[in-house]
């Protein structure tokens, strides 16, 4: 939770909740999409937020930047402290100043995130001049853009700047987006599945780039991903999200060596691997994430869990400390101790 962070936090999210009221035709009920989420991101730290589609990762990321429309149907509560300022309480005008200079975001589909009819160099320049609030000489801006593009690993900058998004590859587009995100020199980057749409080889390049930017600039990253391989490569700390809540939080080393929640363990085990032998079967987690409107009572994971007991069907567990880790599971002690074999005998669950 927010209380035991070693380094002073750059970002501190406290009791963030997002709920949505369905239209009156479909009942007009409140659906909790993100439920009481609290965590921190330290300076220069990479925190990975992992979970399946529909678990609320992207909403959490967008809520941090204030990108969720605040209207009568969507309700966002809680605080988002960035560098001592509560972004959740800022009016839209001031929030716009913070976006880009305090915190930036990059998205999954890099080609869609760029304007198709504007040359990419111009798009980077736009982000840069917005930060300064004035236009420098054309020459100075071009030089700055070229410099920034080189920092994100683009070599033939002169030529690249003149191209349109459709003329360059997906990996190159993602580098351009990273350049745009960094143009305002933010201290935090929220990266929502930044490499999911890319080939594995290009994914590796982009991840290497993000890791080196963190090292060199002291940039903090909140990396949202469903790929545990990506999390293992990048994370200092891992947050596991399920059904809108954080169910496990741990330093990456501990998490991958001995996860404390059966869901975290299931996610790790489901990744197809090449470094171990070809196991006959992959250990899949049966079923899928429950819809927010029809979450089961008690622990939301219990219908899919190989360890469920009676208590799991009645009481939702709290996120409690367990050594360096935190887990929201009634039986986390057993998960920690036992159970690499947990998901091997899961055939009857489901």
């Amino acid at each position: 939770m927010a209380d035991d962070r070693a380094a002073p936090s750059l970002l501190s999210v406290e009791h963030l909740s997002v709920s949505y009221r369905t239209s009156s035709r479909s009942g007009g009920e409140h659906v909790d999409l993100v439920r009481d989420v609290s965590f921190g991101v330290g300076r220069g730290e990479i925190v990975c937020l992992v979970g399946e589609s529909g678990s609320g990762k992207t909403l959490t990321g967008r809520a941090i930047l204030g990108l969720l429309r605040r209207n009568a149907r969507m309700r966002v509560s809680g605080s988002v402290w960035l560098d001592g300022r509560d972004l959740a309480a800022l009016p839209e005008r001031e929030l716009r100043q913070v976006r880009g200079t305090g915190v930036s975001m990059i998205f999954q589909d890099p080609v869609a995130a760029l304007d198709p009819v504007i040359r990419v160099g111009h798009q980077v320049a736009e982000a840069m001049t917005r930060r300064d609030g004035r236009r420098g000489s054309r020459r100075a801006v071009v030089a700055q853009v070229a410099d920034l593009l080189r920092q994100v690993g683009i070599t033939d900058t002169e030529q690249r700047m003149q191209q349109f998004p459709h003329e360059i590859s997906g990996g190159m587009c993602q580098r351009i987006l990273i350049a745009i995100a960094l143009a305002g020199n933010p201290s935090l980057l929220v990266a929502d599945e930044p490499t999911t749409a890319l080939d594995v080889t290009i994914q590796a390049q982009v991840l290497d780039l993000l890791a080196s930017l963190c090292r060199e600039r002291g940039l903090s990253v909140l990396l949202i991903t469903h790929d545990m391989g990506v999390a293992a490569r990048m994370a200092d700390r891992v947050l596991v999200m399920y059904a809108g809540a954080i169910v496990e939080q741990a330093p990456a080393g501990d998490f991958f060596a001995h996860p404390a929640h059966p869901y975290g363990l299931g996610l790790i085990r489901a990744v197809p691997r090449i470094d171990t032998g070809p196991a006959d079967r992959l250990s899949a987690i049966p079923g899928s994430v429950p819809e927010a409107r029809s979450r089961p009572a008690g622990c939301p994971f219990h219908p899919r869990c190989p360890l469920r007991a009676d208590v799991c069907e009645q009481e939702e567990p709290e996120l409690l400390p367990l050594g360096a880790q935190h887990a929201a599971c009634h039986r986390s002690a057993e998960v920690l101790g036992a159970a690499r074999s947990l998901w091997d005998s899961e055939a009857s669950v489901g």
Binding site: E52, S53, G54, S169, G170, G171, M172, D199, V200, T201, I202, Q203, A204, Q205, L207, D208, A211, H226, D227, M228, G229, V230, A231, A232, R233, A235, A252, G253, F256, G266, L267, I268, A270, V271, P272, R273, I274, D275, P278, A279, D280, R281, L282, S283, A284, I285, P286, S288, V289
Partner: protein
């Protein structure tokens, strides 16, 4: 080996001519999407086809499915000349060859229920003309892919991504195919669901004795299904070997690089991997291939000869074949 093969493609080529008008006239260029590919798939086995976007793996799948016509080359399927089939003959033969694509929402009609979509596959091939028997068969198929009978009455948008992919699999197996092309069939799914679908495909192979061409950009997903793996780069197969050998003793520098790029859910291993070196840059354009070896501009082992002569795919048939002047050993 050759006699028992289900599908054999020999020297398959697909070139696309691009014509670009500009103010002084026209410019022509040729995209060599598939440039001389030979593959062989035995009954009940899986050929894993791996490569980056744009390497021609999808085009190869489309050529085998006859969704596109090859520029040259031969395909034999079930002992017959597959490319010579036309009209009604081709239509009825398609029953033996089905496909599963990446985006299940895109391959299911949004205005048809799942049961209706699967039923259509049956009626199109004149199977189960009786309504009641057809509904019964649809229910069986849904159960076979791990879906409840109630799914038959639902529309694609009501299902999760994993359920939708199961539905497209049910439709593909409805007509009892001998061969299924799975083009990035699990790439759009969450890892947990990905594992479910891979397991399902492997179970279906055991019960139905069907063969797969499993196309993916991720070598790790291929590992659990493939008996043979072919690695493709810019229209050519650069390495082909039994699955175990590809993973334990990769010979082509490109295969080695692909293996090193697969994310591993283990922090120490994955950081060691990152430190061991990466493949730089993007693949070259298929319209302007480099001289000699197509991979040489990104290859850490490239030498003078690589710019002069294109290495042929050499090796013993059915064994480990590699197209490189300086393979790893």
């Amino acid at each position: 080996m050759a006699s028992e093969s289900l599908l054999t493609a020999t020297g398959l080529v697909r070139h696309y001519r691009l014509r670009r008008r500009w103010w002084l006239g026209e410019r022509h260029s040729v995209v060599k999407a598939v440039d001389g590919v030979t593959v062989e798939i035995a009954p009940g086995t899986t050929l894993g086809l791996v490569g980056e976007s744009g390497c021609g793996k999808t085009t190869l799948g489309r050529l085998l499915l006859r969704l596109d016509q090859p520029t040259s080359g031969q395909v034999t399927f079930g002992g017959e000349d597959w490319l010579a089939k036309k009209g009604e003959q081709l239509r009825s033969a398609r029953k033996d060859m089905q496909a599963i694509f990446q985006d299940p929402l895109g391959s299911l009609d949004p205005r048809r229920t799942v049961g209706n979509a699967i039923g259509e596959a049956l009626t199109a091939h004149g199977l189960e003309p009786d309504r009641g028997a057809r509904a019964q068969r649809v229910t069986e198929l849904l159960q076979q892919v791990g879906l409840g009978a109630d799914v038959a009455a639902r529309y694609p948008h009501e299902l999760s991504g994993g359920q939708r992919q199961r539905a497209t699999i049910a439709r593909a197996i409805a007509v009892g195919p001998k061969f299924i092309v799975c083009d990035e069939a699990v790439s759009a799914l969450d890892v947990s669901v990905q594992a479910q679908i891979i397991n399902l495909l492997s179970d279906l192979q055991d019960t139905m004795d069907v063969s797969y061409l499993f196309i993916s950009h991720n070598l790790a997903t291929v590992r659990h299904l493939a008996s043979t793996v072919a690695v493709m780069y810019l229209g050519k197969i650069v390495e082909q070997a039994p699955a175990d050998e590809i993973f334990t003793a990769p010979a082509h520098p490109y295969t080695v690089a692909l293996l090193a790029a697969v994310p591993v859910p283990d922090p120490a291993a994955s950081r060691a991997q990152a430190a061991s070196g990466r493949l730089a840059g993007d693949p070259q354009s298929a319209t302007a291939l480099p001289s000699g070896c197509r991979f040489r501009l990104r290859c850490p082992r490239a030498a003078a000869i690589c710019a002069e002569a294109e290495p042929p795919l050499s090796g013993q048939p059915g064994g480990h074949a590699v197209a490189c002047h300086f393979p790893h050993s």
